[in-house]
């Protein structure tokens, strides 16, 4: 298959849209959380300002090569994830670089950033970062497990490993969505989703009251700005996968924005009103509630 060079500027356009939407959405969700606390919260453009500020700080110190590479890995994880899944179903412009086996790649990318981060943070030499990393890896592993199981269930269900094809299979009314065709898998995945969004009850990794603030403790200035950028891309990219796999994908931008918002909101909806689990509690919780669901969904398929 000859490579379509035009895909590159188009994917960059996607990236641009997603970054901005990510910033917007982050702030919006933060504002909603603030409303639950009976206040207004940050201005909607605050995250941009923060990012510019962090890029604009004059000094930065390093703890070694991996310390540099951590945010870079993380960002490339986010960007990579985004670029290899189709954003808008049926759109040539926004199908990105998706290909037949992209689902496996996507799963890899989800983990890739975390690993990079772990290595970078580990090199920062801060005990809190080290503890955060060990917690994070343990928890993310178990949180990804139900998701992976759900993905397998879906893959089995649709007999394909291409995201595009999975989306295609869900077209034709919302009853065709995996949500309704395989609710157990979706449930397992959504529980796993909670775990991967770093919000309560599964934010023990960055818990400010315990290990402020976990892996990124030592990160600052431009490193932090890089991570902030990633924070705008990565959740959206992840949500795109969820949306494509379980919620019928999106065939135009408004649908995309709406669905992403709703899925994002789900984590905040739970996150604002619950405290956090201890790491062994959350692992246990995933193993007891989410993983069986995932296994069950595979079995049922």
């Amino acid at each position: 298959m000859p490579f379509d060079w035009m895909k590159i500027p188009y994917s960059l356009l996607t990236l641009f849209i997603v970054v901005n939407y990510g910033f917007f959405l982050n702030a919006l969700i933060q504002k909603m959380g603030a409303r639950a606390g009976r206040r207004y919260g940050i201005p909607i453009w605050q995250n941009y300002v923060d990012m510019i500020k962090n890029y604009g700080l004059r000094s930065s110190i390093t703890h070694g090569a991996m310390f540099y590479l951590g945010p870079v890995f993380r960002l490339s994880g986010g960007v990579g994830l985004l670029l290899f899944v189709p954003t808008i179903y049926g759109s040539y412009m926004f199908s990105n670089l998706s290909f037949a086996g992209d689902l496996i790649l996507a799963l890899y990318f989800i983990f890739f950033g975390t690993l990079g981060m772990a290595l970078g943070a580990g090199e920062s030499g801060h005990p809190h970062a080290a503890i955060g990393v060990s917690r994070g890896l343990a928890q993310v592993s178990t949180a990804e497990l139900p998701f992976a199981l759900a993905v397998f269930a879906v893959a089995l269900q649709y007999q394909t490993l291409s995201v595009t094809e999975i989306v295609a299979a869900q077209q034709g009314g919302f009853l065709q969505w995996t949500l309704f065709t395989n609710p157990l898998a979706v449930a397992a995945a959504m529980l796993g989703f909670l775990g991967s969004m770093m919000r309560p009850p599964f934010d023990v990794v960055i818990a400010p009251q315990e290990i402020p603030i976990g892996p990124p403790t030592e990160y600052h200035s431009a490193y932090l700005a890089l991570m902030q950028t990633n924070r705008a891309i990565f959740p959206i990219a992840k949500i795109v996968i969820y949306m494509n796999l379980f919620f019928g994908g999106a065939s135009d931008w408004p649908t995309f924005f709406f669905k992403v918002f709703l899925i994002y909101l789900w984590s905040a909806f739970v996150g604002v009103v619950f405290p956090r689990f201890r790491v062994e509690q959350s692992i246990r919780w995933f193993l007891i509630w989410a993983v069986p669901l995932g296994i069950l969904s595979i079995i049922l398929v």
């Binding site: 639950a36 606390g37 009976r38 909806f269 009103v273």
Partner: protein, 599 residues
């Protein structure tokens, strides 16, 4: 764990649909509460710079600083508190303790500055945006950190005291004195007002601590007539007392008296410390009144040989001959003078200059001569009829009364004058009348209205209680003489005492004429010095100023060997005379030291 535990937390989201409770513009929408203790304000008109705020501030945040445009005057130090907001903790103790209620707090609370040295300011002087704030902490009326009211001085009932010349006031008990001394805030505003600069706060502190020995020492540092002053001082200090602005002034005079009451003569003598090694220099002092004896005391303490010449048979000057016994018992005068004698002062009574010894002789045999003659002659009103023999001068009568001479107390007397001497004579006559006739018939007429009497308000009140009829704003017109006998005094109502330029020029309402019956009219309108002893030659040589001997700051006249002090150059007041005595002694001592130096 139940389903409820899973679902109930989501109730938090209901706030999503409620308006936030945030204050939209917290910088402008939130004035401090009406009682808020914000930044300080100080009312410059009220502040007297007493520094009590500085004393109470536990943070050492307040400095007292002179301020341009605010003069130091009696009762106002001219200093103003400058507050260091690098220290302040907004406890408002300074506001609570402020003697004049001038220091308050506004409800402003925002002050941001890059320069840390900018946080020092003098409220009321340095312009600040909260200067005109009306809300804020002011001391509530009933919130008192110290007693407002002076402890009443126990005294005899008018009915009892009129019977005799026994002293009226009892003096404070130790308990009372401590309570009264406790009211003092030790600001020291009174010190400058006291002519003798007695260390008032310190001796009041001594009373508070019950350490009379220390108090006595402090008294004798500045005033060898403390016993006398404790009874009859004009206590100008009390007019500048910081406590006066919100409550009664401290009874400084009575506390001084209390110290003297608590100590014995021996203690006084020991504190003073006996005669000093002699310097061989000799000083003659004419007049054994407060000024002369104070100078004598000081000079004797410096080791000079001092001789005091007194014309009368007992020393004390006007304190003895001018002040009635019920105000100042003679024993107290004797004690003070005995202490002065104990440092080696030689007092020679019944020696009249010009008669028994000549001034020139003194000039020749002493290194310096001090005139401390006092005011022995009464001034005359010169109204028609005042030449009559039954129109008397108050000073003369008082002297006669002191000497127990019978001058024939009148059945009915009229006193002209509104000063302390007028009160003294009125009350003396009243006592004599009571003793002789069983009833008091004394009328006192004064130019001033009651509010501006020169006499001490207590005196006026007590005189009234004793049956003296006090008529204010009456100008004497004529002594009525019928058949060679004085029958009374005619007076007019006074419209104004001073003219527009502020000169003494009484104007009268002639339609309002009154007749005050009396067989004796007593003039008590002022005194003057008998300068006849100076002799013509000397009088000629000396420089005079409006009838008074001109002296320099040290009391030295234009003749280098001659000094003058006391009432004759200052005006009548014991404590002023004492102060003058110190000054003159200092001047004389300096002169002596100077002449010795070349050797």
């Amino acid at each position: 764990m139940s389903v409820r535990d899973l679902l109930s937390p989501f109730a938090a989201w209901k706030n999503l649909f409620r308006d936030p409770v945030t204050i939209i513009d917290p910088l402008n929408d939130r004035p401090g509460a009406p009682r808020y203790r914000g930044f300080h304000q100080n009312d410059m008109d009220k502040c007297i710079g007493c520094g009590t705020c500085e004393t109470i501030c536990q943070n050492g945040a307040i400095d007292m600083l002179p301020v341009d445009g605010i003069e130091t005057k009696q009762g106002d130090s001219g200093l103003r508190p400058r507050i260091d907001y690098g220290r302040c903790c907004w406890c408002a103790l300074c506001v609570d303790v402020c003697m004049t209620k001038s220091l308050t707090m506004s409800n402003a609370y925002t002050w941001v500055e890059s320069d840390p040295d900018a946080f020092r300011f003098t409220p009321g002087v340095d312009k600040k945006h909260w200067d005109n704030a009306e809300l804020g902490y002011h001391r509530p009326e009933e919130h008192q950190l110290m007693a407002k009211v002076r402890l009443p001085m126990g005294e005899m009932e008018p009915e009892t005291r009129i019977e005799s010349f026994a002293e009226i006031v009892n003096g404070y008990t130790i308990e009372q004195a401590r309570l009264e001394a406790d009211r003092c805030v030790s600001c020291g505003l009174c010190v400058a007002t006291c002519p003798a600069h007695m260390s008032v706060p310190d001796y009041i502190a001594a009373v508070r601590d019950g350490d009379y020995e220390r108090g006595l020492k402090l008294l004798y540092e500045t005033n060898p007539f403390s016993g006398i002053c404790g009874s009859v001082c004009t206590h100008k200090c009390e007019t500048t007392c910081a406590a006066r602005h919100d409550g009664d002034p401290i009874a400084i005079r009575w506390l001084k008296r209390h110290i003297m009451d608590q100590v014995t003569f021996e203690q006084c003598r020991d504190i003073v410390g006996g005669p000093r090694p002699a310097t061989g220099k000799k000083v003659a002092i004419i007049g054994a009144g407060p000024a002369g004896l104070t100078a004598a005391f000081d000079l004797a303490k410096l080791g000079h040989s001092v001789t005091v010449y007194e014309a009368f048979d007992k020393p004390g000057g006007m304190t003895r001959w001018g002040i009635p016994e019920y105000r100042l018992p003679y024993a107290r005068i004797d004690q003070d003078i005995d202490v002065i004698r104990s440092v080696g002062v030689d007092i020679r009574c019944n020696v009249r200059i010009g008669k028994d010894i000549l001034l020139d002789e003194l000039h020749n045999s002493y290194d310096a001569v001090l005139l401390a003659l006092g005011l022995q002659l009464g001034r005359a009103t010169r109204i028609p009829g005042s030449e009559h023999e039954n129109v008397r001068k108050a000073v003369d009568l008082l002297r006669q009364a002191t000497a127990f001479e019978d001058f024939g107390p009148p059945r009915q007397a009229v006193v002209i004058g509104g000063g302390n001497v007028a009160m003294d004579i009125a009350r003396t006559i009243a006592r004599l009348q009571k003793k002789e006739f069983g009833r008091v018939q004394v009328t006192l007429t004064a130019l001033e209205d009651l509010a501006h009497f020169l006499a001490d308000p207590d005196e006026v009140k007590e005189a009234g209680e004793e049956g003296v009829v006090i008529l204010d704003s009456r100008g004497p017109r004529q002594v009525v003489i019928e058949n060679g006998q004085v029958t009374g005094l005619k007076t007019w109502h006074v419209k104004a005492i001073f003219d527009e330029q502020g000169r003494f020029a009484p104007s009268y309402d002639e339609t309002d004429e009154q007749m005050h019956a009396g067989s004796m009219v007593i003039e008590a309108i002022g005194q003057m010095t008998d300068v006849s002893i100076l002799g013509d030659t000397l009088t000629e040589k000396l420089t005079w100023n409006r009838g008074r001997l001109q002296v320099d700051a040290g009391g030295r006249t234009s003749e280098p060997w001659l000094w003058a002090s006391g009432d004759m150059v200052r005006g009548p007041d014991v404590v002023s005379a004492v102060a003058d005595g110190h000054r003159v002694a200092q001047s004389i001592h300096e002169m002596i030291a100077e002449t010795e130096q070349p050797k």
